[in-house]
Symmetry: C2
Subunit: 272 residues, 2 copies
């Protein structure tokens, strides 16, 4: 058995995702906004970053921006930004830059911000509750439409205007809400069972916060966010810093302020 999507891991990340078939063989005709063809997974992962950066500059009244400036705001190199955008189409103007609003619209369309995505959250412990209250979702086109938990003391409670439903009614709630995306914030033990039921009733995308590797049908996209894992990765780097006190950059070479203006998804190797 191995036709499942599982989780690769992103360089430098505790986040994993199942992605679309590369392209070999007969890639199915993709229909989509602009160039739906083969946008690299790495690029897709950065589009939301660009959107956020654009929202930021737009808020400051900027209406045209160069790849260099936008790249800095997004924390990537300008070459990477241009390459990424080139997969979507040619939305810039040579010698000038990009029209902020137009680019926002184009990237937003590609990512699906145009839609209003209904989301269901399963598991309302501390994390699930925080997510239910999180305002960052609505501003990006997501709407939490249903909350589900199995604990009797939670069922019936109200969070952010929504009543927590009983896990027993999961199927009905999913159907009624029309959600296609689900967030799993249950304990590890319950996650797989919940995922199975969600997939059964039509959910095709899952954001999993439970510390387990979910096994699902290949057509379902799963992304995982593991908080403990993120800290462990930091700890790895932290440990590495324990030694190597030298190599002080202060005073040596270019006195320039060594800032990090790019944070590539993946990274260079960690050097001794």
């Amino acid at each position: 058995m191995a036709s499942q999507t599982r989780a690769g891991t992103l360089p430098g990340s505790g986040v994993a995702a199942a992605v679309l078939p590369a392209a070999p063989l007969g890639s199915p005709p993709a229909a989509s906004p602009a160039a739906a063809k083969g946008i690299p997974a790495a690029t897709v992962a950065r589009l939301p970053v660009y959107l956020r950066a654009l929202a930021g500059v737009a808020a400051r009244g900027v209406d045209t921006i160069s790849s260099g400036a936008l790249a800095e705001a997004a924390g990537v190199s300008s070459a990477q930004l241009r390459k990424d955008l080139s997969y979507l189409g040619s939305y810039g103007t040579r010698g000038v830059g990009y029209d902020v609003e137009y680019l926002r619209f184009q990237i937003g369309r590609e990512v699906g911000s145009a839609h209003d995505w209904p989301v269901i959250i399963v598991g309302l412990g501390n994390l699930g509750t925080a997510l239910a209250n999180y305002s960052g979702f609505s501003s990006r086109g997501f709407r939490v439409v249903a909350l589900v938990d199995s604990a009797p003391e939670l069922v019936g409670r109200q969070i952010h205007g929504l009543t927590i439903g009983d896990i027993a009614d999961l199927e009905r709630l999913v159907a009624d809400s029309g959600a296609a995306i689900a967030v799993i914030a249950t304990p590890a033990e319950a996650a797989q069972a919940v995922a199975d039921r969600l997939v059964e009733c039509g959910i095709t995308s899952i954001l999993n916060f439970a510390p387990v590797v979910l096994t699902v049908d290949g057509a379902v996209t799963v992304r995982k966010v593991d908080l403990g894992q993120e800290l462990q990765i930091l700890a790895y780097h932290e440990q590495r810093k324990a030694d190597e006190p030298a190599a002080g950059r202060i005073g040596i070479g270019p006195a320039g302020p060594r800032r990090i203006d790019r944070e590539p998804a993946s990274n260079r190797r960690i050097v001794s």
Copy 2:
């Protein structure tokens, strides 16, 4: 087959990391666990996954495991698992497999699980509070030792046995707690200022939940987790599924319920 891969983010992903500058020329052999030399970032990101998988099988009483079995539990291919472990050293036994406890110890040492890492959390809104209560940290060698917020109504409150301190005392709290790792869960506007102060008083690793790109000194490691971003990446894939009939893979018939709502397939383009 679901091509499983990684997703940038790394940042994919919605996660990104800034790491140390490249090789400082004549760097002396770093004194570190095993092979501290050049472990690929992608491998480092998976080590926590292996640790978790090992904890799982250990709990079930397994004391020896093959790369194939462990790989399945971790959601990666056996080749990748072996390659990853080969960066740490040769801890397996040919023809047999890996001793679970021994491997746990070795990976744990590499990741730094041996240490007891003090962590400070800044920003105790819904998310910060959830993190403060999160039990997954302690089980992995992390200990939340200080909580800080700027809201008067929060300062002084107790969470999980800790009293929330005033942001004004940040420097003192960091020094007293001895934390080297910080978690930022403040609103986007406050994040950069908080990061600057944290770096100023010696924090060298930051896990950032605020939806902004932090600019820090190159010696500081930053990882970002952006919940809205994760959902947007899912939305991208979701949008792609709108068309395309399910090219089901698993032999079993397409018992899968077809969802129909949203997106009346716009254009259709045949691609290479």
